[in-house]
């Protein structure tokens, strides 16, 4: 019988009642004959509580200690969920990451999974047990506990699914799938039955926040059929119905003429833009500007370098808004000495809006439609950046909702 991996987030594990509901759902799948592996997150709020204590005690905590502390949240969840599943009359066994083991590198608080030993899991599954495994964590080759960073339980689930060659990895969450855009911004946003892995990558990294981006990369790399679906439905709903709910992340582009050429409108509200004006356009200038920024752990997103005149160019990039002050300080201290004195301007009231879809590969005119739509709303485009399957623009944040709504309509995403 097929192996299915379930992943439940912190909200789904947030109370005794909710844990019991998760157990009922798992028991339903197990009774139907599926071999089930469950990866639960820590109870909601627990990881923050633990890391809060740590930061009160030491304002510059050693990440190894943080991992030892934070990893306990998932261990408690595994123990409680194992007990809850047994209370449903289904045999189960729980493991911490180190017991499987889930081997990682030693990059504490942001470790990467290197390998998963599936032997113990498969033995237990073949003996009729549901296997419950801690998300978010593993163990390095010196037996130190590591964590994968926030949202890492999604990655754990997909990695476990790859290791046991699962038929599907079900990510249960508090939304019922991936939408054409955020339903809080556009009423007529529609849930997608499926989305390609590449589109999902763009949607996730652009702020859809449904799934941790590393888990999507993992799903892509190991071709794990992954489905995002709601944990808020009746746990005893018919299995057939549940199996077809949510949004499936696929690896084939459907050759469906009816399908909209784009899948969704993604956006990132809290962006900031930095421009270095009239920089000398010499080879290596981009690296000299961006390397110090990266070294200070600031994520740079869009990067635009205009055509130069008189060997001078304007160099613009975006950073998360909360990192703007830090980024400007880094430029002052580390970049200016490298590139000569330059004028620096910044704007912390900008947002990014993107149109995403694999259909872009074969359809022309999508960029024009996007720009025309924004022009009709009198929205000025500050930056443009494109990839094979997306077009992103940076605009004044006050027009963000208008832009998302008008693009959602223009691309007919509100139609089934």
């Amino acid at each position: 019988m097929a192996i299915i991996v379930h992943k439940y987030g912190g909200t789904s594990m947030g109370s005794v009642e909710r844990i019991t509901n998760v157990a009922k759902r798992v028991a339903k799948w197990a009774r139907a004959g599926y071999k089930i592996v469950v990866v639960p997150s820590a109870m909601s709020g627990e990881t923050n509580r633990l890391l809060g204590l740590a930061n009160q005690i030491n304002s510059n905590p050693d990440p190894r200690d943080l991992d030892m502390i934070a990893s306990t949240g998932e261990q408690v969840s595994v123990g409680l969920l194992t007990l809850a599943i047994k209370a449903q009359g289904i045999d189960a066994i729980g493991y911490s990451g180190w017991q499987v083991p889930i081997k990682t590198d030693d990059a504490y608080t942001k470790a990467r999974i290197e390998s998963i030993d599936s032997e113990r899991i498969l033995d237990d599954l073949n003996n009729g047990k549901v296997v419950v495994i801690t998300g978010f964590q593993g163990v390095d080759d010196k037996q130190n506990i590591t964590t994968l960073g926030r949202g890492g339980s999604d990655t754990s689930a997909v990695a476990v699914a790859a290791a046991v060659n699962a038929d599907e990895c079900l990510i249960y969450t508090d939304v019922d799938g991936v939408y054409t855009t955020d339903p809080r911004v556009v009423d007529s946003a529609k849930r997608l039955d499926s989305i390609t892995f590449e589109e999902m990558l763009e949607m996730a990294s652009l702020g859809s926040k449904v799934l941790q981006i590393r888990s999507v990369e993992f799903a892509g790399k190991y071709k794990v059929k992954t489905r995002v679906l709601s944990s808020l439905t009746d746990p005893l709903m018919p299995l057939e119905e549940e199996m077809n709910s949510g949004t499936l992340i696929t690896f084939e582009e459907k050759n469906n003429m009816e399908k909209a050429v784009i899948s969704g409108i993604a956006f990132q509200r809290d962006e900031a833009k930095i421009t270095l004006k009239s920089v000398n356009d010499t080879p290596g200038i981009a690296a000299r500007i961006l390397k110090p920024i990266a070294e200070h752990k600031i994520d740079v997103d869009m990067i635009i370098q205009n055509q130069s005149f008189d060997n001078k160019t304007d160099f613009t990039f975006t950073v998360p808004r909360h990192d703007l002050t830090k980024a400007l300080a880094v430029i002052e201290e580390h970049v200016k000495p490298l590139v000569g004195v330059v004028e620096v301007t910044s704007n912390s009231k900008v947002s990014k809006v993107s149109v995403v879809g694999v259909g872009m590969r074969s359809h022309v005119g999508l960029a024009s439609l996007m720009f025309e739509t924004l022009a009709e709303e009198n929205i000025n485009i500050q930056l443009i950046s494109t990839s094979e399957i997306k077009i992103s623009v940076l605009i004044d944040e006050k027009y963000m909702e208008v832009a998302v709504r008008s693009l959602h309509k223009a691309f007919e995403l509100d139609k089934n």
Copy 2:
């Protein structure tokens, strides 16, 4: 330099401030050049909180799951204390029991330590690090997490001290040592500078509750110099003073003429007495009565079988008061069929008072002094039980305090 093991209880680890105080104390010892291993308990209340959740979810929980859940409390403490010690400028490293490893049998929730690998600990100590290790837990030979049961952190500390051949094991607690009796009952109770291991065993098992009895057995078996002292003193108090505070558990009987022949008065308030009247006095009768009781996990304490007349005897034993109802039910169902119909009487309002001291071995007349003292107070003795170093009597619980006070005075324990 000497290796010293510190153990801190849940109250000492109860808040960010208290953990910081523990770290200051540890740092003081480390700065003085000692190699320090610290064994902290879970933050007070945490183990109960976790087990409470487990019992809400499954009223008949699998002990393996309970151990996985409960063990996280100490792991959090280790992480937080390690951070706190580093915040004091002292290098430190934290381990869970399985990382050391502390190997145990697989008796979940009441496992016994089988071996401790000291290599990693000694390496770290030689590299100038304070080593922080979870109390209360270990790992069995199948890599399952086990716990040692309530109070197990004392045992962990003594066992670690034995494994690293520590010069002393300091058990920091919320009392400042072992007293001649409970100061809440007798104002003039005195703290003992030292007590022999055997006396401590009797005191601990008789309800002094300062130290978990298994830890005392461990200390005795491996000759670990163990000291009970206060964690409520100024963490920066002079080291010399701290080293001589509390009560040292010794392995030699001091040949000190000045020393009182007995060390203390122990008592156990909540006892219950059961008598089976006119039982046929045949070989094996005691086993037939007590085996079913033991199989139902009821601790039997005092056991008295009187001289028989006409081949009939009265068989009396005591159990913890909260187990009386259960014990009577076991007798009704399992004992009566084995020993024939008997009359059963019970009394749930009895307490045990004991005089403890290695001096008893060489001094006569101590029993007489005890009985005379109780007689002067008109206290009727219901049962008497003796060992090499203690005499215990069972009396009506309403006289318990009077008995303890008068014995404390009669044996001159209020004098230095």
